[in-house]
C-alpha cells in the first residue's frame, strides 16, 4: 500500500567470509549443512545471501541465537566490518544510487555522523566513557558542523532530557553512569543528527529486567517520534515483539524464515525457527 521502493535502507546479497578467499568458502555451509566453517577452505561464512529492506518509521527484527550471524550482518551494514560481497544502500545517500560497500573508508565513516547510527550492546563501542555525557553528544554535533557552544549545549541537554538522563549528570564522565543510563546516552548520541536509519544491536541485553524495560520503552517512543527506519538485532523475543512488525530469523549465517513478527513467534514454519521459539517460550 506504500508507494513501491520507499525503502530507507536496502541490503541485497550481503555476504561476509572470515578467513582466506571469498565465495568459494560458501558451498557446504549454512543451515542445510549445519555448519558455518567451509569444508574446503576452512574459512568461516559469517553470513551469506542476506536481503533486507526497511522503510522509514519501520523497525525490522533480526532473530537468531549466538553465532547465527545476526551481529555480522549489523556490523557489515554499519561499516564496522568489511562485507565480502553484496550491497547496502541508504535512500538518504545519493537517493540510493551508491552502494555503501564501494565508498571510500573516510566517506563511509562520515555516514555515521548523521545518516546511519548504531546503538551497541556494549556502550563503550558507541561512547567515549572518559568523556561527559554532554561531551559525547557534542562530539557528534560538531562532527556535523555545529560550532556555536550555546547551541550545542542546548541541543545536548534537549537530547539527554528526552532520553531521561538527569541533566545534573550531563557533565559527568559516562564511565561513572549505570548500564541503563549509558544506553540512554548512546541513544541520545545516535539520534543527535537525525539519522535516517538506526541499527540497534542487542540494545537491552545485559541490563536488569526493570532497567531494560525502561530503555525498551524509550526506544519504542523514539522510533515512533522520529520516523527513523530501524534494524533491531536481539536474541530476546520480548524486545523483538515490542519493537518490530516484521522480522527475519537467521541460522548458520543465512536467513531461514521471514514474516510478520507475531507469525514468526506464534506459528514459525522453519524447523530451526520452531526450535528457537520453542526453546524460548516452552
Amino acid at each position: 500500500m506504500n508507494a513501491p521502493n520507499e525503502w530507507a535502507l536496502l541490503v541485497e546479497g550481503l555476504g561476509k567470509v572470515y578467513g582466506p578467499g571469498g565465495a568459494e568458502a560458501v558451498p557446504g555451509t549454512g543451515p542445510d549443512f549445519g555448519r558455518t566453517v567451509s569444508p574446503s577452505t576452512g574459512a568461516i561464512v559469517g553470513c551469506w545471501d542476506i536481503d533486507l529492506e526497511v522503510v522509514p518509521g519501520e523497525a525490522l527484527g533480526v532473530i537468531g541465537e549466538s553465532g547465527s550471524g545476526k551481529s555480522t550482518v549489523m556490523r557489515c551494514i554499519a561499516g564496522d566490518q568489511t562485507a565480502t560481497t553484496g550491497q547496502a544502500r541508504l535512500r538518504s545517500v545519493d537517493d540510493g544510487a551508491t552502494n555503501l560497500f564501494d565508498m571510500e573508508p573516510s566517506a563511509r565513516r562520515a555516514l555515521r555522523i548523521d545518516q546511519l547510527a548504531v546503538v551497541y550492546q556494549d556502550p563503550s563501542e558507541g561512547l567515549d566513557l572518559g568523556v561527559s555525557a554532554g561531551g559525547n553528544i557534542a562530539d557528534r554535533l560538531t562532527a556535523a558542523g555545529w560550532r556555536n557552544f550555546g547551541q550545542i549545549r542546548a541541543r545536548a541537554a534537549e537530547l539527554l532530557a528526552r532520553t531521561e538522563v538527569p541533566l545534573d549528570r550531563m557533565d559527568d564522565p559516562v564511565g561513572t553512569f549505570s548500564g541503563g543510563m549509558r544506553q540512554r546516552v548512546q541513544l541520545a548520541k545516535a539520534l543527535a543528527n537525525r539519522p535516517s536509519v538506526l541499527l540497534l544491536d542487542e540494545p537491552t541485553t545485559g541490563l536488569d529486567a526493570s532497567v531494560a524495560a525502561g530503555v525498551l520503552d524509550l526506544i519504542r517512543d523514539l522510533l515512533d517520534e522520529t520516523g527513523v527506519g530501524a534494524v533491531v538485532v536481539s536474541h530476546d523475543f520480548n524486545v523483538i515483539e515490542m519493537l518490530t512488525r516484521r522480522s527475519v530469523v537467521m541460522h548458520h549465517g543465512r536467513i531461514v524464515e521471514q514474516g510478520l513478527t507475531d507469525q514468526l513467534l506464534e506459528d514459525p514454519q522453519h524447523p530451526y525457527s520452531q526450535r528457537l521459539v520453542g526453546a524460548a517460550r516452552g
Binding site: 506504500n2 522503510v55 525502561g214 520503552d217 515490542m242 516484521r246 526450535r275
Partner: protein, 262 residues
C-alpha cells in the same frame, strides 16, 4: 498493492471478507514432522456490518481461523479476500508483510483474551497510545481512552497503574479498551470475556454490541452461549476444522446445541 489488487467485483457488495478453500495444518518438525490438522477448506463470507460468531467445541478451529485471517498463523492454501476502506479487494494471503502490517494498524484489529502491553506504562497511557498510533491527535486520544475505560468499568484509581499489577479480569478489559479505543473496520474478537464476572461481562458485551451499531464488522469467538445469543447476527458452527452449519443466530443455535458449549 499492485499485483495483489483484485477486481472489486471479486466480492459481492455486501461482503467484507471471504475465505475461499482455506486450509491450515501445523507441521511439528520437532516431532518427526508430524502434521496436525487445523482448518480444512473453510469457505466463509463475513457480511458488511454484521456480527458473525464462530461457535463450536474446543479444538474445532475457531481461534485458528481468526489467527489465519489476521495472519498471525500462516495458512497453507486458499484465499482470504478483503474489501478495504478504499473499496479495493485484496487477498490477505498475497499481501506483502508490510502491507498486511499497515492494514492491521488501520483496519483489521485482533483482540485476544490476553493483554499484551508495554511494561512500565499506566493503563490510561497504554490505551491512549494505541489511539495515537491509529492516527488520533493526543488530546482527543486521551479523552477517548478515558471514555472507553469508563465503559469497561476500569476504576479511575487504576488508570495510572501498570497493567501487570491488575487482576486477570481487569487486564482483559484494559486489553479490550486498547483494542477498541479506535474501532477497526473489522474486529476479530477471540474470547474477550472469558475471565469476567457478570457485571463486568455485561458492560463489556455492551461495548462490543456498540461496535456494530457504529458501523464496524465483527467476527468473534465466545465460549459463552449467552454472549452469542446477545450479540450475534449470524453463527457459524465449526467442528474438526470445518464449518458445518451457518445461518441466522437463533435457528443455528437451536439445532446445534450439542456442538456449542453452554
Amino acid at each position: 498493492m499492485n499485483s495483489e489488487t483484485l477486481n472489486s467485483e471479486a466480492l459481492s457488495s455486501e461482503t467484507l471478507l471471504s475465505t475461499r478453500g482455506l486450509d491450515k495444518t501445523f507441521t511439528l518438525h520437532a516431532v518427526d514432522g508430524r502434521i496436525i490438522d487445523g482448518l480444512q477448506g473453510i469457505d466463509l463470507d463475513v457480511h458488511v456490518n454484521e456480527h458473525l460468531c464462530l461457535a463450536g467445541l474446543s479444538g474445532a478451529g475457531k481461534s485458528s481461523l481468526l489467527k489465519c485471517i489476521h495472519r498471525t498463523y500462516a495458512s497453507d492454501r486458499g484465499a482470504i479476500l478483503y474489501r478495504t476502506e478504499a473499496n479495493v479487494v485484496v487477498d490477505l494471503l498475497e499481501l506483502a508483510d508490510r502491507d498486511m502490517a499497515d492494514l492491521r494498524e488501520r483496519e483489521i484489529g485482533y483482540v485476544s483474551q490476553f493483554l499484551r502491553a508495554e511494561p512500565r506504562r499506566g493503563v490510561l497511557d497504554v490505551v491512549t497510545r494505541r489511539a495515537v498510533r491509529m492516527g488520533v491527535a493526543h488530546d482527543e486520544a486521551a479523552d477517548r481512552a478515558a471514555e472507553v475505560l469508563r465503559r469497561v468499568n476500569i476504576d479511575e484509581n487504576l488508570w495510572a497503574t501498570y497493567p501487570s499489577l491488575l487482576s486477570g479480569g481487569e487486564k482483559q478489559r484494559v486489553n479490550l479498551a486498547a483494542g477498541l479505543v479506535v474501532a477497526p473496520r473489522l474486529v476479530l474478537l477471540d474470547e474477550p470475556v472469558s475471565a469476567l464476572d457478570p457485571a463486568n461481562r455485561s458492560a463489556v458485551l455492551d461495548v462490543i454490541a456498540d461496535l456494530t451499531a457504529r458501523g464496524a464488522t465483527v467476527l468473534s469467538v465466545f465460549h459463552d452461549l449467552g454472549a452469542i445469543r446477545q450479540l450475534a447476527d449470524r453463527v457459524a458452527v465449526m467442528s474438526g476444522g470445518r464449518i458445518i452449519d451457518i445461518g441466522p443466530a437463533g435457528p443455528v443455535l437451536d439445532r446445534g446445541m450439542e456442538l456449542i458449549p453452554t
